[in-house]
């Protein structure tokens, strides 16, 4: 069955430090891949997406993600976090037409920023 795993429930990072959030998926082919961010009391905002082509994808707010087919991973990175990055981050996978273009969601990783 298709699934998305975000192994870290919480991650604590000091302000200014680098960040990597992990995402692994289980799917037979290369799916569409997404990272969304949810700030407290807000809906989900798309950070970046991967459909095809260059495996390093740039997104908004200084985030990037790298698709690694051999590892079935799509990890999110940021070189220097800001206090405003504290939020919950969700990885999502879209198998495409076979699934009515629905998204399969990870459970999320809560990012805590230490001052």
């Amino acid at each position: 069955a298709q699934s998305v795993t975000q192994p870290d429930i919480h991650i604590t990072v000091s302000e200014g430090a680098s960040l990597e959030l992990r995402c692994n998926y289980s799917y037979g082919a290369t799916p569409y891949l997404f990272w969304y961010v949810q700030s407290p009391g807000q809906g989900l905002q798309l950070l970046l997406k991967y459909f095809s082509g260059d495996t390093l994808v740039q997104g908004i707010k200084g985030f990037e993600a790298e698709f690694k087919r051999s590892q079935s991973s799509f990890n999110l990175r940021k070189p220097s976090v800001h206090w405003s990055d504290a939020a919950e981050y969700f990885c999502a996978v879209g198998p495409g037409m076979d699934s009515n273009y629905q998204l399969i969601w990870g459970a999320g990783t809560k990012l805590i920023i230490k001052p």
């Binding site: 998305v4 997404f34 807000q42 809906g43 989900l44 997406k49 273009y101 629905q102 969601w105």
Partner: protein, 115 residues
Amino acid sequence: EAGVAQSPRYKIIEKRQSVAFWCNPISGHATLYWYQQILGQGPKLLIQFQNNGVVDDSQLPKDRFSAERLKGVDSTLKIQPAKLEDSAVYLCASSLAPGQAYEQYFGPGTRLTVT
């Protein structure tokens, strides 16, 4: 461009009462999704509409939940009667059409507390 609108933002009801949520998607977006997000979990799709037709409602608890999208624009989600386990954030999202944009745009959500 106006985003996805949802109301109310917060609702507190007693169990066995009924409640309704409203969503107005981005203008021109044919596909509309309702999600349930329980604290600490990723969004769970309840129902997907394409224009005013239902694409998938396999995870909608139909004995108590109902949804409609008359005229293919705004939508309402109803719960009757509510149970304690329905306490969650209900998110509405829209996308241009399956396969075209494949990006889902989310509203701020309605936080439901059932006491």
